[in-house]
């Protein structure tokens, strides 16, 4: 073993994880309500809300779980979030008919104090900071 993937759940990373967990909870709560309440009103926006909620949950787990595979999952989910907030943010401004209802990503996450926009960037910086490094120490040492 020549590379180790440092833990992502230390130091300020813990605050990041807590915020991710909160956003996962908030997005899940809202999307459950939207799916129950009136899915037919805005199927695209509500399906996207549900997808976003699932991605936040997976990202939270990937930040906590150790190892190389989860590190890649964290990158994939966090990149997906950034893409999601940017694309949906633009679409919700230029095509409000497609997004008549709020999602976590509408207006670049304006309904959530832009946390959905800022969080993936902080997440990426953190992942970069805790990237796997080549080292002589065996994994698990």
């Amino acid at each position: 073993m020549t590379t180790t993937t440092p833990s992502r759940s230390t130091g300020i990373g813990r605050v990041l994880i807590a915020v991710y967990a909160l956003l996962a909870l908030a997005a899940t709560g809202r999307s459950v309500f939207q799916l129950l309440d009136d899915f037919d009103k805005a199927p695209v926006a509500y399906a996207l809300s549900a997808l976003a909620a699932v991605v936040y949950i997976v990202a939270t787990i990937a930040l906590v779980a150790p190892g190389d595979a989860w590190y890649r999952v964290a990158w994939i989910t966090i990149s997906f979030e950034l893409l999601g907030v940017l694309v949906v943010g633009l679409l919700s401004i230029f095509d409000p008919i497609l997004f008549p209802a709020k999602t976590v990503w509408s207006g670049f996450g304006a309904g959530y104090a832009f946390v959905p926009l800022v969080l993936p960037i902080l997440g990426m910086l953190w992942l970069h900071h805790r990237r796997p490094r080549t080292t002589a120490i065996p994994a698990g040492a």
């Binding site: 915020v19 909870l25 908030a26 309440d37 104090a113």
Partner: protein
């Protein structure tokens, strides 16, 4: 919801949140003051649950979606206990910041509940 009680509750959650966030960033470990403030936020949420259960019987009903209101309230009530457990398990300064983030999130959610109950935006 009772309007003054809700504002009081939002104020307490804001103060508790900012205090814990500041102390966490200053490097303080979770202590009685920050854990206690978070516990107070939770006690007020429990009171809010009772108030909101009883209020409709006294003609004080939500103007917006009752289902959405309760999704917010139940979710909010879950947050402080999780943060407190976090603070008991992980005794680092960052747990104090997590307590702060939790209370601030509760403050935001209470404001949303206030809007649903009184202003009917949802």
């Amino acid at each position: 919801m009772i309007e003054w009680f809700t504002w009081l509750q939002i104020a307490v959650a804001l103060v508790a949140g900012l205090l814990a966030l500041a102390l966490g960033l200053l490097g303080k470990r979770p202590a009685d003051i920050t854990m206690g403030a978070t516990a107070l936020v939770e006690v007020l949420l429990m009171a809010q649950i009772v108030v909101s259960l009883l209020a409709p019987a006294f003609g004080n009903t939500a103007t917006g979606s009752v289902l959405e209101f309760w999704v917010y309230l139940v979710t909010a009530a879950v947050i402080p206990p999780l943060a407190i457990v976090w603070g008991l398990v992980d005794r680092s300064r960052w747990s104090t910041a997590v307590l702060g983030v939790a209370s601030l999130a509760v403050a935001v959610m209470l404001y949303r509940m206030y809007q649903i109950w009184f202003v009917q935006v949802a």
